[in-house]
């Protein structure tokens, strides 16, 4: 396993997605309002769209009809093509977490630099 530096932390805007590369692999970086950084493979497993062209949004928490609370600490990337949502933490699709998943990569921030670990 190796860690590679992909960008400076300050290059990541809160609430925006950033496309990056590790060797020949495209990844998408996401910085959440609480300062965490996540990395997913930048390819939707549904139809191959680039997730970095999608939206970074709070996930919904809900327990009943008409309950649309926005989670404070859970975020998703919504695919730009059909709206599939992927959890930043593990890349699982919220609509079908057992069968649809995008690869998630560990991220570290050291000395203002963002490092992504590729297994």
């Amino acid at each position: 396993m190796t860690q590679q530096r992909v960008c400076r932390f300050e290059e990541l805007e809160v609430g925006r997605l950033k496309e990056a590369r590790i060797d020949n692999l495209s990844i998408v970086l996401a910085r959440t309002p609480d300062g965490r950084v996540f990395a997913l493979r930048d390819t939707c497993p549904h139809m191959g769209a680039k997730l970095s062209h999608g939206l970074l949004l709070e996930a919904f928490e809900s327990s009943d009809v008409d309950d649309y609370r926005l989670a404070e600490d859970r975020f998703v990337i919504r695919c730009p093509w059909h709206g599939y949502e992927f959890a930043l933490e593990d890349g699982r699709c919220l609509g079908d977490p057992e069968r649809v998943r995008v690869r998630a990569y560990p991220v570290a921030v050291r000395d203002g630099e963002v490092w992504v670990e590729r297994a």
């Binding site: 549904h46 919904f60 928490e61 809900s62 327990s63 009943d64 009809v65 309950d67 649309y68 919504r78 059909h82 709206g83 599939y84 949502e85 699709c93 919220l94 609509g95 079908d96 649809v100």
Partner: protein, 365 residues
Amino acid sequence: MGVAEDTTLLIDTDVHESPPQGRGMKDLIPYFDPHWQRYIKGVGGEWQGHGTSSTYITPLPPYGNRADWNVNGERAGSTVEEMQKQLFEGEGVSIAILGGPNFSPSGLVTDPEFATALASAYNDYEIENWLDKDERLRGSVHVAAQVPEAAAREIDRVGAHPQIVQVLLPLATDKQWGDPIYRPIWEAALRNDLVLSFHHTNRTQTTLGWPRYFIEWHTMAAPQAAQNQVLSLICSGTFDRYPELKVVMLEGGVTWVHWLIWRLDQQYRELRQNIPWVKRLPSEHIRDNVRVATQPMTEVTTSEFVKLIEMTDTARCYVFATDYPHYDADTPRNVLPRSLPPELLRRIRYQNALETFPRLANLAN
């Protein structure tokens, strides 16, 4: 499909009994409170009847029944004795679940108090004139769902009868069945160990309204409405809130289920954020909570039918039905051939029903 005889348990989930005097409901007069009796008798006021939105020319008068079942011109399904002879002896049915004559108090658009009284009167009529006369008969609680609290009280009132197994509701209503206003009914059904069964009435339209001809309505209205209502129940989180609730869709055909599974799972993956209270794939809810009566069975070969079931993992979803005594009733020797895989045949004949209806579970012994 071929001809075969089978003597194992056969549970018929869609059987129509009819009060002999027909849709005027005069047979129910003894079961109404006196003030409501007046409006059936036409004394001091008059109920104008169920109303009919469907005015189609239908193929087999009188009554829309299979002609050879209308013995001596009498309405088939109007006496226990004829039903015993034609359904139990003639078709080999072991247990018949009665759903009434496709009247529905829930479909009455006026006089909700009368609709509630009509449901109660029918339930008492059904118990005394049918269920008490043959232990092989099972029955429905009819309710006026537009008054949910009263409907729940009616379920509690008659739901304890040991032969009552379901709450019967119309496929189409002003508010779709996923609406939370109906929760008192679902909760009453659950606490009485009853399932919810849905059947079309003459008020069930296609999504485009009333088509010009009966063939169009008969092709499309029930399967469309069944899909819409399953969709509504799932998307409003009914099965997330009530995971033990079972619903049975009657007389809408069988092969819409596969299309709905594919389409709705696809849409859920894309649009889950629209209904975040739904926590499982719709297909999982369908497999666990939705049952579909086989009549009218799609006329495909046995192997084609089996392939469809295998493609969608829906072997648990089908329960047998004849739709006795209507003209297009299915006869088991034709739609349940021995060429079906034995496990699937067993499931459709009785096992799925035993697992669906808590009140039938004792038949497994």
